[in-house]
């Protein structure tokens, strides 16, 4: 039987003092199990995260759970406040031994940042459809979202912004030119036929 986790030591922090990412990183200093509840400024609970020893064990956000919930909590916790608790349980019946972590705090935070950056790129280019298609392509050097693994901690945390290639003139504009030339050819052919018809009529 798994012993129930007992919540102890509440601490409340506002998002304008420390971000969700800040709190998550600070609690990597402890090896005890920690729970962070995220609330909107209205007091409505948005979700929660449980960590232990620098690993994220659980994340929930509204009806979601897992990595996706973690990313949504990271990106939707502005103007929020956080209640954090140390969770204690019977040392002989530690439930964490039966759990698989979602990944390390560092790795998941890096992924959340990458996701946010990609979303921002897409937003800023929403009025240029061709550029939007370019932004959705994997940019060389940018870490892609993959299932977590501790080995990936060594990779460069900064997405390679410099490797982003501005959108090149697209094939759509080339097609437009082709269509225009075809129209001109068509008109010329029509004119030639008219001339031919007139010429043959005059000869008769």
């Amino acid at each position: 039987m798994i012993a129930p986790l007992e919540a102890q030591t509440l601490m409340r922090v506002n998002a304008d003092e420390f971000s969700f990412a800040d709190i998550l990183q600070m609690v990597t200093l402890t090896r005890t199990r920690f729970r962070i509840d995220v609330f909107a400024a209205t007091g409505v609970m948005l979700g929660s995260v449980e960590t232990q020893g620098g690993m994220v064990l659980k994340a929930t956000h509204q009806n979601e759970s897992g990595e996706l919930a973690f990313y949504h909590l990271c990106n939707n916790s502005i103007n929020a406040f956080f209640d954090s608790y140390t969770l204690k349980n019977d040392p002989t019946e530690n439930p964490s031994q039966n759990e698989t972590p979602l990944g390390s705090v560092v790795h998941l935070l890096l992924n959340a940042l990458t996701q946010k950056e990609q979303a921002n790129n897409m937003k800023s280019e929403v009025f240029v459809p061709i550029a939007k298609v370019e932004a959705a392509q994997p940019v060389e050097g940018t870490p892609q979202l993959e299932p977590s693994s501790p080995e990936k901690l060594q990779r460069d945390p900064a997405p390679a912004k410099s490797s982003y290639t501005p959108p090149q003139p697209s094939s759509a504009s080339v097609e437009t030119v082709t269509v225009n030339i075809n129209v001109v050819y068509g008109l010329l052919a029509l004119l030639a036929l008219v001339f031919l018809a007139l010429f043959s009529r005059n000869r008769r």
Partner: protein
Amino acid sequence: MIYALTDKDKHLVKESWRLVEAGSLMETATKIFYDRLFETNPELRTLFPEDLEGQIKKLANTINFSVKALSWKLEEWNEGGIILEESDLFVIVRSLGRRHTRLYQVTAPMYQPVGNALLFALDMGLGEAFTTETKLAWTKLYVLLSNTMKMGGIMKTAEDLATQIQEEAK
């Protein structure tokens, strides 16, 4: 900003601290730290006692404890068992921050010159062994510790919230 320590960062911090210990540089480094701090920020001198002897030992012990508390790898995340609050780095540093804010009136901007002086002292003490990577690892550790202290100073505990509710009800 991502400043949580990776296993590599922990290793670099521990190795460089081992050199400080091996060379008996701990007290020298902390002395360099205070000299540098008061040289660059003389206004902070009033926050410390006249005789710095005890203070030097306290700082050396705090850094020593913080470095020793990092001696675990991320893969050992669930092997901690029950960590007593009195030996948990996070809880200790958070309480330290609470005391510094409430008793000694330490404010958030004061943490920056302290961090600079710490990195300067380590640089002086370790010389070439204080590589760019090692400096980055120590910077991350300091940001983590100082942020935790700052949070300790501003966070509301269950008692604070209860007092607030009582005062609002009056």
